[in-house]
Symmetry: C2
Subunit: 357 residues, 2 copies
């Protein structure tokens, strides 16, 4: 068991987007400094960090200076190159660790891990060539989704298959990357559990939120989620099971499909998660601080929900609505300071407080 | 009427202490960058700002570069040298403006201003020499407090007079600075109103909080304050009157004594205020964001209180309590990242959420 990190220590964050930005703010509340490692200049996290090391993830020297500057290292995205981890984890503690990354970086490994834990996932099959797809169509059925095993996010690297004729064109979309064929899940809605675990093994989960996606991107998360008491309890216990099995340290997002037959795990993300942004205005300790507490070896906050919140992402031109949202007393704005508005780009989010919990 | 500041713009903050730090975080939520002007290195605000210009307030060139880097300028402390203002206000809008600073930088001017508005203050008299004190003793009575007219904070530059014999030693404590003799006010408790006004003239006040001081330093602020409905309404209206009279833009802290005869204004501070820190965990929009909204020409948030909060300052060795406070689920910690713990130094604060409002 390591000592809790002392206030004044520096937390290193790989990735300088909005998640790194909000992690950095949370770190400041606990008196920590932050150092961001991110190849992009003027990135959102750099605006609120002590230091920004602007270098590619392949730059070994820069990674070593980064480790030198930090007491502990975490990240805002799961697709950290293994070569970077190889360097960093020799020099400083990295939380969450390689085990969690290995599982979550590959959809196939992730599903096998979850099934081994006794958790239900969509039926799936590995896809390397056309024959794998035709076989999966027979065994799993249609419709289905063909995804790349690695590096997918916000609906990227995914193609829907509804007809056997689609097999060839779907495979072509993968550009030769290893794929996974996922069978159709007949779910009524999607929820996610944001759970945290610290080095002492304490686990704390926020209330599940209910997610709505559009074009593969999260649109809204609403709390409380539509769930029975037993579903709610199942969701939280299931998340805790995952974190414990991985000896996980940090916050994890667990996306679940709600079906007549029970909860099905869609995917896990070993980091703070867009569907947990509501906690900033719904809880005394939000997901960002919970993550910082965990990686710093601190006790977790209790994360109780004091308010009901609807989180809505502000994507691309949604930024035009900011003046109107700023006039709405129920709305808490969280903008990411990104210079260029682009279609599909997450520019900020708004937490609409709809009442006491 | 100026245009609202666009997200991505830079807000300049004079002063890099904890107030500047929390203003900087609030600015980031609205997508603004911040530039801190502060002579001290490694200051709390610099940890969460885009840029820190480390130079004395007398450095005209540095002040000009600061103005160049900013779209609008504000401050975290009222004792800005006039020479700095002379330079800055020619180059960029400064909010709150000189009018508010002139009134609040001098206790004598402040009291006269408040009385002119029809508001009650402690009885007072200007003190330049011993004879002024003896005359004030006769007219105003004892006990009393002798204060410097300018540059006082956290009980510094104040001496209590209980006996006519104290006059000489009290005057000596002022070190030749102009003073003010303030008569004793028989109050039951102190409350403060944190109020905001934007350029459009909208005013919004947070619920009053009840303050307890120790050794001249704020110890706790508790919401809700012990006030009747009419006192609560009086407190808010009185604050609004002050802001409107000054055409004020920003957040102001108004400290009030509650007496059997009504509310008496103790002092005003033209900035975010220690007694408003509870809003971080009691309201959707806190005092820091309210201030940023005002100086950016944005609409104000409504600042409704969703939770009851007891704010406690963590002073000096109180930092030893952090591990214990971190384990308490009702507590939200806000630490300032100050490297050295010193007696009497504000190191952080904790907001204890005591229940829904």
């Amino acid at each position: 068991m390591t000592e809790p990190l002392k206030t004044g220590a520096t937390i290193g964050i790989l990735g300088g987007g909005q998640l790194g930005r909000m992690l950095s703010v949370a770190a400041s509340r606990l008196g920590f400094k932050t150092c961001i490692f991110e190849p992009g200049e003027d990135c959102p996290a750099s605006h609120v960090a002590n230091r920004h090391i602007c270098a590619p993830y392949e730059d070994a020297d820069a990674l070593r200076s980064f480790a030198d500057a930090c007491d502990v290292i975490t990240f805002e995205f799961e697709n950290i190159p293994t070569s970077a981890l190889d360097i960093l984890e020799k020099l400083r503690p990295v939380h969450p660790d390689r085990k969690a990354l290995r599982v979550s970086q590959d959809r196939l490994v992730e599903k096998a891990f979850l099934n081994d834990l006794g958790l239900t996932t969509a039926p799936y099959a590995a896809v390397d060539e056309l024959e794998d797809i035709t076989q999966a169509m027979e065994e799993i059925g249609l419709p289905a989704i063909l995804k790349t095993r690695r590096f997918g996010y916000d609906g990227k690297g995914q193609v829907r298959i509804t007809d056997p004729k689609d097999a060839q064109s779907a495979l072509a979309e993968l550009n030769g990357a290893p794929g996974i064929y996922e069978g159709f899940v007949d779910f009524s809605h999607e929820v996610s559990v944001i759970a945290a675990r610290n080095a002492a093994g304490d686990v704390s989960a926020f209330d599940p939120g209910q997610n709505v996606h559009e074009d593969g991107i999260l649109r809204t998360t609403t709390t409380p989620a539509r769930l029975s008491a037993s579903q709610r309890s199942d969701a939280v216990l299931l998340a805790a099971k995952i974190l414990n099995k991985l000896d996980y340290v940090g916050v994890m997002g667990v996306e679940l499909f709600v079906t007549a037959g029970g909860l099905i795990v869609n995917e896990i993300a070993p980091r703070v998660h867009n569907s947990g942004h509501w906690t900033q205005n719904g809880c005394t300790v939000d997901q960002f601080e919970q993550h910082i507490r965990a990686v710093a070896g601190w006790p977790l906050g209790d994360g109780k929900r004091h308010s009901n919140v609807v989180m809505e992402n502000l994507i691309g031109d949604d930024m035009d609505r900011v003046p109107e949202l700023a006039r709405d007393g129920a709305c808490a704005l969280h903008l990411y300071g990104k210079a260029d508005v682009k279609p599909g780009r997450k520019m900020g989010h708004v937490n609409r407080v709809t009442g006491p919990a």
